[in-house]
Amino acid sequence: MELYSDFKRKDDISRLASIIGSEVKKPVNIMEICGGHTHSIMKYGLNTLLKDKINFLHGPGCPVCVMPLKRIDEAIEIADSPGVILAAYGDMMRVPGTDSSLIKERAKGKDVRMIYSPLDIIKIAEDKNNKDKKIVFFAIGFETTTPMTAALLEEVIARRINNVLFHVNHVLVPPPINAILDSGDNLIDGFICPGHVSVMTGSGIYADIPLKYKKAAVIAGFEPYDILSGALLIARQINEGRPAVEIAYKRAVKEGGNKKAQTLVDKYFTIRDEFEWRGFGNIPKSGLKLRDEFKNFDAEYVFKDKLKELRLKSESGQRGKENAACKCGEILKGKCKPDDCPLFGKACNPENPVGACMVSFEGACAAYYKYRNF
């Protein structure tokens, strides 16, 4: 486990920081897409270390933060059905829906379980006490975690388990990036692209960023050294006027990604016409769902009657509306930062989060709150 310290050595970091200092002529605006990067940047104070040189903007790459209220409302509605065990990751449980959260529902007596890995679902499903229950997995995550959900479904089928359903909320990284860039109204000079996602997908998914939008795109790991290397490559691309996709995380990311994982995802999932993102609204072709042949595993299909009324209400705007004061949406688009939100650290803090960016461990507001710099 000592391995990690290789990428944070103090002299390496100072050296990189001073190279960035000398090569960056005018401040560079870099959006790190992934919440893991945001967290590292704040934890090590990289934004302060590079102030006046790099302005980090925090993008839409925390899966919990981008989940719209209505999806959480759906999970709560499903958990309300008799005989259902709803299983979700810890972070997700605390995110408020329109008027409750999964953790509050659990306190009220609903069977909501916190899991650490999708394979925990198998354990729950095979428990003899749960034979007559329906275990519904609230599946979230980007391209990194989708293969794990696919592997779970494969295992469920192989073991002939017939009491597991999936509420699929898997989303894709490129569509919101394109949405931000299409809107035109942004400062971004380049992107630090997510390391773990790219391990699975390879670097091809970012091709539009330099080609269509003429911005830099560098894939980086999560250690301070990785992030600074990424920032330096972006600065160089800008200086040389040659936007491109580069990999600053070669120890983990291959250009083609992990083919096996891609095949597995492709076997079970297909792209939705559109999916709603918190703060963005509907983004075309940005989410995944189970393929039709697996619809019997799809909680949205199995519970469609139960969810009907809820969906009508959110379509008519009666439910699923965000707290108007919360700026998560703007933050995720890089238009402002957590401390620009009037609620930050006052009405909104980790004990009483108003928006999802404060709930999730990877959310920008939570990272700002936890690692308040001087």
Partner: protein, 389 residues
Amino acid sequence: MNKKKYERILLSHGGGGKETSELIGGIIFNGLYGRNGGSGDLHGLHNRHNDSGFAVNTSGQKIKLLDDAAVLKSPQNIAFTTDSFTVSPIFFKGGDIGKLSVAGTVNDLSVMGAKPLFLSLGLIIEEGFSSEDLIKIIKGISQEADKTGVMVVTGDTKVVPAGKADGIFINTSGIGEVLYDGLSVYNITPGDIIIVSGNVGDHGAAVMSQREGMEMDVEIESDCASLWDMINAVLGGGITVSAIRDATRGGLAAVLNEWAMAAGVDIYVEEDKIPVNGSVRGFCELLGFEPYQLACEGRAVFAVKPEFAEKALNILKSHPLGKNARIIGTACGNNNFGAETEGAGQAGGGRNGNGQELKKLKGKVILKGIYGVNRLLDYPSGELLPRIC
């Protein structure tokens, strides 16, 4: 107690009748005072407590058992404390709930300069709990008590229906004789040097890595230990100590924040001086915890006057429980951090987190990160932490 007959603790063991006597005599008394070989296989208590009914502690003091209250000779100034323990899992690398329940209360007395003398032991056991595990736990209690020479003089045992508790909960209260007067958080003034007695976060990491659903195989052992001997060495060494605190729940960060808040000082610590075991750091990296916010159960934090800092450090280092002791920072006037510390990081630079607003905060803890950036080190919050003590 007949192990075949009672492999598990039954509700009737808490009913106050014959089975209760068997439980108390066979497992608890036997484990604590060991008069029947400590095997925990004693049939009935009746014979045994008729024949003597006394326990003798390491300093030769005789305490009468099984009366409604223990009658003790009290020294002039006593310190009195209580703590409850609900850790899950109950057996973890480096200890168990029994050892923890003694060390925890012993340490609470020790940090007040009180030599631990007597403990009470309250057990709440869930119906169905394994008798063998209970024997192990009582053994842990007995061994840990012997280390400090503290004696369990009174107790209570309840059994609750299955599902109403998680295995076993323990409460211990402790009485100690105050040998060193006047330790208090209010003594801490700007300039005080902060010393920690060893690696932080071991207990929290050990317990969390073993909890259900996580089960990570990391080589981390809890630091669970009774600290009286080490603390006695420091206090007896002629050192002016302002305050001592054992870092338990909330870890080092909680101790420093409580001190800063109560004493109205800022506390400035440097990340690369805080001793953390490499595996604990790796574990924290993976899960996004901070080692400074993880629980310890055998680490003390000292605030000492600057002229005594080196001496205190040397005494600690020469004690087996203080081998990794380090000076980690200083107390300072509000926003004066850096003034007392050589090479302090730049203040007021960062954009995030309302630097100006932060300066208005009184009694805060600032961590100088490994790259020289200062940030707030807060209480742990907003995380789903399992029971660790």
